[in-house]
């Protein structure tokens, strides 16, 4: 059974339909990427999974249909979402951001996890008592990822993690994603405009245009596809 399976999902904002019946699957331990231009529906896809937009169709998380469920409940089932723009809590300190990331957990290893993430992102450790709003873009992104991982999710949803960040930082970040996937086995669904980077860590991908999936395949296939090359790889 796939970790995540979307079947004929339609999503709308008010009266405007943004997703016109998309289907995709993510298997356990995979990194799957969704490529698309601005406005294609990438962010809406992730929001549909989390129950943040009006959705019809089926979204199966470990076989259970979560369409219509409350966002907080979906999170409790093991989904973590790093939204576009980071979604950190600007008035809370770095350490509190991490604490609240573990909100759904009731075990005793939360502190240990916080220490672990401070090791992985030493820049955050330096700023542990600073309010998140005062961090730079790259630092906030690291914080957002760490925050999401604090809930020990089964599936990590990343919405355009490279947006607004300097190239060096983005490289670093994506190396981290690959490492998280390799060491912790976290399944990831990454939505990106930056196809190069995304395909670099993914095993499979989809291309979305105007609310519909137009292409799917392995990362290699997508990288060699002429259409993808022209539109997203600038070749």
């Amino acid at each position: 059974m796939s970790v995540l399976e979307m079947q004929d999902v339609r999503a709308r904002y008010g009266q405007i339909e943004a997703l016109h019946g998309i289907s995709l699957t993510v298997e356990e331990g995979e990194v799957v990427v969704v490529l698309g231009a601005n406005g294609a529906g990438k962010t809406t896809t992730l929001r549909a999974i989390c129950g943040m937009v009006t959705t019809t169709g089926t979204v199966n998380l470990h076989g259970t249909n979560i369409v219509g469920s409350d966002t907080a409940d979906i999170v409790r089932m093991g989904v973590a979402h790093v939204p576009q723009g980071r979604g950190t809590f600007p008035e809370l300190s770095v350490v509190d951001n991490l604490n609240v990331g573990a909100y759904v957990r009731k075990d005793k290893e939360i502190s240990a996890d916080i220490d672990k993430w401070f090791e992985i992102f030493p820049r955050l450790a330096e700023r542990r008592t600073q309010v998140a709003g005062s961090l730079s873009g790259g630092e906030q992104q690291m914080l957002a990822v760490a925050r999401a991982m604090m809930s020990r999710p089964k599936v990590l949803l990343l919405d355009e993690p490279s947006l607004g960040l300097a190239p060096l930082i983005i490289d670093d970040l994506f190396k981290q994603f690959a490492q998280i996937n390799a060491e912790l086995g976290t399944t990831m669904l990454v939505v990106e405009q930056n196809a190069n980077l995304a395909l670099g860590i993914a095993s499979r991908g989809y291309v979305i245009e105007a609310g519909e999936i137009v292409l799917s395949g392995t990362a290699e296939e997508l990288r060699n596809d002429d259409g993808v090359r022209a539109a997203y790889l600038g070749v």
Binding site: A72, P83, G87, L92, Y103
Partner: protein, 304 residues
């Protein structure tokens, strides 16, 4: 000097009461950017309930006040669930109408159920003519010192709850970024509900204390509410400490600053205590012109 000290305690204790109600306003504002216009009514009704429990049922006064406040917390929780939650939080207008409506209804029901004659209300602290301590010739009455003490305790409690408990963390998260809070699994509805209940509890306790210094009637919280708005505005609508400090400042302006100005500054002898209110507001205006979000409030930088 003794007069000054006495007036200062008076001012501080008044300020403490404004501060407590201001804190309840800030609690709700932080989480929802809404002003709860029913806060005064809730506090007033809480005092009436305390009156029922303590005077009519004979329970000790402190218990009565706490029970009254607890009842109002339940009421506020119900209000949030039924009347506030259905609305989109970014659209302020309907919720303003609703809190106004509740304020009117609470006042009407109180006047109808409890009658419109003034009642006097006791203090949980010893308030007899000899219950004071003397410092430098000033008589500092227990009832007033007690109020300041209660303020300190309550503010301490708030900080404790917000910073050291899980639900406090959830509350701060919801206040900071509601959508992200959902994404970490916080049930925002329940958290807000908690905020409303907490704010009402505070207001109820404040009502129970204030009632002793004014009389108990259906409008006794009105003036306090206005001053509390002023205090919260002065301190910054999203800062709890700001609300406390704002309240204390306004209390001090009322007394001893205003009487001092009236008595000692030439040309100001027309300054009545009503005008003290005016002075307080001019002060707030001045502060806002320099710091548009209040003394301790945070200005949200909007990206174009």
């Amino acid at each position: 000097m003794s007069l000054f000290l006495q007036r200062m305690i008076e001012g501080l204790s008044n300020g403490a009461m404004y501060g407590v109600v201001a804190v309840s306003l800030v609690i709700i504002f932080k989480a929802t950017t809404l002003i709860n216009f029913a806060q005064g009514g809730l506090a007033m009704f809480g005092a009436y309930m305390a009156n029922v429990f303590a005077i009519e049922q004979g329970l000790p006064l402190i218990v009565g006040i706490l029970m009254g406040a607890a009842v109002m917390a339940v009421v506020a929780s119900g209000i949030e669930r039924v009347l506030i939650r259905p609305f989109d939080p970014s659209n302020h207008l309907p919720v303003v109408l609703i809190t106004f409506g509740i304020a009117y209804i609470l006042q009407a029901v109180a006047a109808w159920k409890f009658g419109t004659e003034f009642k006097s209300f006791p203090s949980p602290f010893p308030a007899g003519p000899n219950d004071h301590i003397e410092i430098a010739g000033a008589r500092l009455r227990y009832e007033r010192l007690g109020v300041v003490l209660v303020l300190v305790i309550m503010v301490g409690l708030v900080h404790l709850i917000l910073n050291k408990t899980k639900i406090g963390l959830a509350f701060r998260a919801v206040s900071s970024n509601t959508e992200s809070a959902k994404l970490v699994g916080v049930k925002t509805g329940r958290t807000l509900n908690f905020g409303w209940a907490l704010a009402a509890m505070f207001g109820g306790v404040a009502g129970g204390l204030v009632a002793h210094f004014t009389q108990l009637d259906s409008g006794f919280m009105d003036k306090i509410l206005i001053f509390s708005f002023a205090a919260a505005t002065l301190g910054g609508l999203d800062s709890i400490n700001g609300a406390v400090i704002g309240g204390l400042i306004i209390g001090l302006v009322e007394s001893p600053i205003q009487p001092m100005v009236r008595d000692y500054v030439p040309g100001f002898h027309f300054l009545t205590s009503d005008l003290a209110l005016l002075v307080a507001f001019l002060l707030i205006l001045g502060v806002l012109l320099v710091k548009p979000a209040g003394l301790f409030g945070t200005t949200r930088v909007e990206r174009v």
